[in-house]
Symmetry: C2
DNA sequence: AATTGAATGTACGCCAACGTACAACCTTTG
DNA sequence: CAAAGGTTGTACGTTGGCGTACATTCAATT
């Protein structure tokens, strides 16, 4: 069971570059989908950061000081209970954004937001983002729509976590993260997976064993490799498909806007 | 287990009045919190409806044709699986709104939205709402903030459904609905509660029995009465408190705006 | 008042997952 | 190379909830 959080590292961000980081922004779907003028405005205020594994972008219940346009890696939104148990309620990658409460004028963020797979992102301060938004209607709209996509994802995951077995949920999770990462391996320990699935580490071992025996995945310490994607889709619950349909709507939209 | 949905009644709405229903709008927190001019604009396009029990305001996956400003009753947002099992991912009453996808420009709504306790609401068509929003910045902002409140609620409920036992979840649910309904009885059958908690009807019977034996509630067929609210708060999981804090932020905000 | 149908109580075997513990294992570090 | 520490495998009894079935009770008709 999502063992009690033993001081997850709150490591220092590594600053890659600051100010007008012209090309790095082109990795994030949201920034890609807005007019160059708005994008430049954001980039002028953004710092390009390496976001290392287990970095907490926002602690549960804490004030959101920064917003992030994720450009690579895997970010997970966790609801954390008083006893340290946690469940993932959302997942995003280079198509995503962290800091929605700021956009909507809320102080704090209920969920803990963690880098599950290291990556990079563009960071903007709360104050800068608040200043930027009124002059960036397309960005604003894009972020609002993104918030809806994440809300729908949360609704589906909520039901999934209640109704489906660990091995199916694990399969769903692996597919979702592959979609967001690209490539076919997911560098994660079973401990971490347990936190996200809201289950015990031992249950993940068993579930992963089932998938491996079926030749769908192979894994070594801290690294899951997906061998048979189609098989994994069959092993996963219907929720994968449902969430994917939503996510695709979102992604296609971004691509469509890119043309304009 | 959330027994398979046997043709929930899709009963006819009962039209109470149409057009400029001047005073009925004052029951909904969102409408209360916006300037009179915007409120009047909405009311001029709204139909005041009685929303009977089990009325489906939006079917899972269906296109949202109408939006509703709820003025009384209890509305629940359910994620429904292919086999008919369901879990509640959100709950609202006279402080709420149905039709967020329309606000954000999405076609469909993933969740089924049902009247769990009969009430009333102001209905606006999709087209009318879309026309209204550009001229109503306060309303727009209010709806966007409401969407965030519901998203946070979904995140907490998601984790709760995974991590907490039926009787604690039931206690949480009763408290949440009492907050939204006022009074101290919740007119619901155990079958309905099962759908929302994502569990079997028989499990609800047992859980309700536990709460009744502890003198926290009494119930007869289709009606739960809350006898000891403080006791029920102790019996409930931490999620009740967490969600309430969020909801209060929202409600206080609405009240504050009312002064302006 | 009798009848009907819905709502509730309860019981059965069963199973997935729990909490816990410990051994085995691999990778890194000194 | 040995030690150390994180990662994984596995096992134990326990438990909450499942699926199902059937009996009971109540409320609303006729």
């Amino acid at each position: 069971m999502a063992t009690v959080n033993k001081a997850l590292p709150r490591s220092k961000d590594i600053l890659l570059s600051s100010g007008n980081s012209s090309n790095s922004g082109t990795q994030n779907s949201i920034l890609i989908g807005i007019p160059a003028k708005e994008r430049e405005a954001v980039l002028s205020k953004a710092s390009s950061l390496h976001l290392q594994k287990h970095l907490i972008l926002n602690e549960s219940g804490a004030r959101s000081e920064f917003a992030y346009f994720v450009t690579s890696g895997l970010v997970s939104f966790l609801t954390v209970m008083a006893d340290g148990k946690s469940v993932e309620v959302g997942l995003t990658g280079k198509e995503g954004f962290v800091g929605l409460p700021i956009v909507f004028g809320f102080e704090t963020n209920l969920t803990r937001i963690v880098m599950q797979v290291e990556g990079s992102g563009l960071r903007v301060t709360r104050a800068d983002l608040v200043d930027l938004l009124p002059g960036c209607p397309n960005l604003t709209k894009s972020l609002q729509r993104f918030s809806q996509v994440m809300a729908m994802q949360a609704a589906q995951i909520a039901a999934c976590n209640r109704l489906h077995e660990v091995d199916r949920r694990l399969a769903r999770w692996l597919l979702m993260s592959q979609d967001r990462l690209g490539g076919d391996d997911v560098p994660l320990t079973q401990e971490t997976l347990a936190h996200m699935l809201g289950t015990r580490r031992a249950s993940v071992t068993v579930a992963a064993g089932i998938l491996q025996k079926a030749s769908l995945i192979t894994y070594r310490r801290g690294d899951v490799k997906i061998d048979n994607r189609d098989g994994l889709e069959t092993a996963a619950c219907e929720c994968y498909e449902t969430i994917k349909r939503q996510a695709d709507t979102w992604n296609n939209e971004a691509k469509a806007r890119q043309g304009s």
